[in-house]
């Protein structure tokens, strides 16, 4: 069973509420992440996406706290793949910080979920094909065994 801890990125880039939006933009670019988490006293208080950064510049705001998004959903490390993909498909949000004992230990984004879906589908398919082949061959053997064809061929 795939769980959140298997698909999350462990590199969580954090900023504080009082950082400038420009610094946050620079940080997300240099670390190649599409979203940052906003931490205060080691606790997550908000997330900050590229869109929030753009909105901040547009509205001529300067601090992260003016544009950060406090309306986010966290998940636990043992949240199942199915639960996370259901959350994603409700399309409220596309990033889920993974929190354990009040500490952020990772983040699961839409890309991670889609990648896991892809791997999972592929694995599932291979396993099923193998089982189907085994039973298919066995069935074919028995059908042959009980058919008149066997007597014609082998006497």
């Amino acid at each position: 069973m795939i769980r959140a801890k298997n698909m999350m990125s462990r590199e969580v880039i954090a900023v504080s509420q009082n950082s400038s939006i420009m610094d946050a933009a620079q940080l997300s670019l240099s670390k190649s992440v599409s979203s940052l988490v906003v931490m205060e006293k080691e606790k997550i208080v908000a997330v900050l996406s590229e869109r929030d950064i753009i909105a901040g510049v547009l509205l001529k705001k300067s601090k992260v706290k003016d544009v950060m998004n406090k309306n986010f959903t966290t998940i636990g490390p043992n949240t199942s793949f199915n639960a996370v993909s259901r959350l994603l498909r409700q399309k409220q949000t596309i990033r889920f910080p993974v929190v354990e004992n009040d500490k952020v230990i990772g983040i699961v984004t839409e890309t991670d979920i889609v990648q896991a879906t892809r791997d999972f589908t592929r694995l599932h398919q291979v396993v099923q094909d193998v089982i189907l082949t085994i039973f298919g061959v066995a069935t074919a053997f028995f059908l042959f065994y009980f058919s008149p064809l066997r007597v014609w061929i082998f006497g």
Binding site: E50, R51, I54, R89, V114, A138
Partner: protein, 158 residues
């Protein structure tokens, strides 16, 4: 196999290449797609994502520049009748995640990598359900052979 038409978004925000980045930023914060298509006479000539703007956000007066200065161009198109696995093949060879869909030289939609993968995996679910039914039939047959065949033969006159 499902086609691109089935998973594409049809409500795609567009801009002209001479429009300002500020306008693009405003549209991006209002819509959910995370990208805009830059068109010239209804034909897509470029794509502009949130990342493109963030990448240039520090340069002076970026908001007054035309979108053509920071858009990705040219873009790879998809067509609505393309099969999803063909689309995925193209997506896997490119680094882009979003593709305009054109029909008769007109922009008709936008398709994303994630939507294509999720749709393919949904299709596989149907495929798997059918395989499961076949598997159950096989198993029942084998059960018959192993457990019921001998007693049945004897009972019938063996």
């Amino acid at each position: 196999m499902a086609k691109v038409r089935k998973v594409m978004l049809t409500d795609v925000p567009t801009l002209k290449k001479e429009d300002k980045v500020e306008e693009a930023a405003r549209l991006l914060t209002k819509t959910d797609n995370g990208c805009l298509i830059i068109v010239e006479n209804d034909v897509p000539i470029g794509i502009l994502t949130e990342l493109d703007i963030v990448r240039h956000i520090k340069s002076k007066n970026i908001m007054k520049q035309p979108v053509s200065s920071i858009m990705s161009s040219p873009v790879r198109f998809m067509t609505p009748d393309m099969k999803l696995d063909e689309a995925l093949k193209i997506i896997d060879t490119k680094r882009f995640r979003k593709y305009p869909v054109i029909e008769n030289n007109r922009l008709v939609g936008l398709v994303t990598k994630n939507d294509v993968i999720l749709a393919i995996s949904d299709n596989m679910k149907l495929h798997r359900a059918i395989q499961n039914i076949v598997l159950i039939l096989f198993v029942l047959f084998e059960l018959f052979v192993f457990i019921l065949y001998e007693p049945l033969k004897q009972y019938l006159g063996g």
